[in-house]
């Protein structure tokens, strides 16, 4: 299990968080309860199983709903 800290483009509407959260939940291997998207810091934090999915796949899910990923840290 790894944890990711993803810096997104500046979020301007709190409903964006809802969308990003929902998008992340669709990724297989992401720990659903660990997802937190914060508005002011414009960050998404989550835990994922790196044997099932990868950070690229997770980033992809976010860009697909229309938000840019600036960078991400995986530990």
């Amino acid at each position: 299990m790894k944890s990711a800290n993803i810096q997104l483009e500046t979020l301007t509407c709190p409903s964006c968080m809802q969308k990003i959260e929902a998008a992340l939940k669709t990724v297989n291997g992401v720990e659903k309860d660990s997802i937190s998207v914060s508005f002011n810091t414009s960050k998404a934090k989550l835990d994922f199983d790196d044997s099932i999915t990868s950070i690229e796949e997770i980033e992809n899910a976010i860009t697909k709903v229309g938000y840019d990923v600036k960078n991400s840290k995986v530990k």
Binding site: P14, A22, K64, G66, D68
Partner: protein, 630 residues
Amino acid sequence: MQRFIFRNKNNIMFINGVFIALGFSSHWVLKNDQMFMAALIIASVIGVLPIALQAFQALRLKIVSIDVLVTLAVTGAFLIQNFEESAIVIFLFLFGAFLEQRTLNQTRSAIKALTEMAPESALKQMADGQFADVDVDDVDVGDILLVKTGAKVPVDGTVVSGAGSINEASITGESMAVEKDVSSFVYAGTIVENGTIQIRAERVGEDTTFGKIIELVEEAQDAKSDAERFIDRFSRYYTPAVLGIAFAVYLVTFNVELAIIILVLGCPGALVIGVPVSNVAGIGNGAKHGILLKGSEVIHSFSKTNAMIFDKTGTLTMGNPAVSQTLYFDSAGHICTQGAENLEPELVDARTYLASIEHESSHPLAKAVLSELGITELHPVENTQVAKGAGIVATVKGKRVAVGNVSLMESEQVFLPEAALHAVTNLQQAGNSLVFTSVNGQLHIIMGVRDQIRPHVRSHLQALQKLGVHDLIMLSGDNQGTVDVVGRELGLTNAYGNMLPENKSAFVQKLKAQGKTVTFVGDGINDSPSLALADIGIAMGSGTDVAIETSDVVLMNSDFSRLPHALGLAKATARNMIQNITIAVGVVVFLLASLIFSDWMNMSIGMLVHEGSILAVVVNGMRLLRYKIA
């Protein structure tokens, strides 16, 4: 393709705007209505692309977002061939989003400036003894690092060689250079202004003080209060509800125009964005001024503080006692008026005896006496007898020297002349502890020692009172006499002495039971039960690390003078949140009322007011960045 459209949202907005301008100029200047229509159709179709795509993605995730409402409204307007409205609504929506992004970045700028102070690289000593530039994440505890002039200290650690002056503003909020040399502790994120040092890493990454501060601030700005969670839940159902209502209106009236106006008016915006914006701007202002407010719940209850309780030692006072007055007595029992440098030989000797005895004592007052005397040439001390709770009697250079309080003087049968008794009363009334020195049964020196009150505390307390804290209460373990003196001097409402930690927490509970909102300011270790029990706890005097862990409001460097700013800021932020909620709700009520009771409301005006209200709450929040206490 989709990515391309999202990336070029701003360009699309621009193209959309150009076509609208083209359309209207052909309408008014060329009087060509076909071109007018064509331009607006193009503007609508191009402009709606990014919005519709986002709406589509949201719907796939079963979320009714604001994009869905706007896309439906625009499509509706398009279908009833109102191209003017569809094009303008799109433009306003895109332009609004553009401005929001810009202004939101502003409100977040203060915190961003802080996080950007985080060090990124370090010069680490490698196996071959040379220093190499590495990423700060690759530094481990125990590594030796080189920090040159102008560079940031990458981690917390101890200086092992070299010296320099360091600007610790990122930790203390005070941009004054501090001198550091071998065995001094240096903090990550501070800047070496002059000199070159080598340090041994002791805490790295998130464990450094700076790392903890950043983590705290980041968490704080998104920590939500109950009210905000309610708004969030509310907005989750609000948008689908608007969609439902618009649809119902259409089914009843068959009026497409009315239905799409409702879709636009119903867009949630200012309400959900208003509180987070105040929050981030308020916390940002605090971060710039060495104050960390842990989230909006803290801001909320701190702003309501009407009773503040202070610990005495180390909070209102410096926590290190110092000699406030020294009196010398000649053999006739008169107070010597000349300075310490012109004393009679007998009294000069007495000073040295006093220093020699105090040097061997671990009593807190002894430290104060020694640093006042500043004597380094000491005599051997013999036959030392400690009179518990009274002082010390010993033989120095064959003379019987007694150092202690008034009861020691009595048991030593030292005569206290009239002048001495008078001085003693005065010193005691001013809150001093007294140290008497007698040599061979004759009184020579009286010293008044007191814990110095922190500078300007009285004016800071007055500022707090002006901010609505009616009860300023001091609780202390000291005797009631000293406590009364300090209480009077500072203009406190109440001052209670002889308080043990459990008495203090019982007192906090009592005040809370009276319905007061209590802020407790005290020592982070002894007072921790009270700090936890109070509505807001502020730890002082035990280092930034402890304060970060235990306080709801962290004052960097335990700087008491930041307290009024902190409270004023919390109040301003709480007010700002209420203003923003009022603006948001007011606008929605106004729009709905206009729709029902007047006939000038249309989609474009609705969108304009809607976007305007979002900008209004963001700009209102931005005012907090400039907040200063009057």
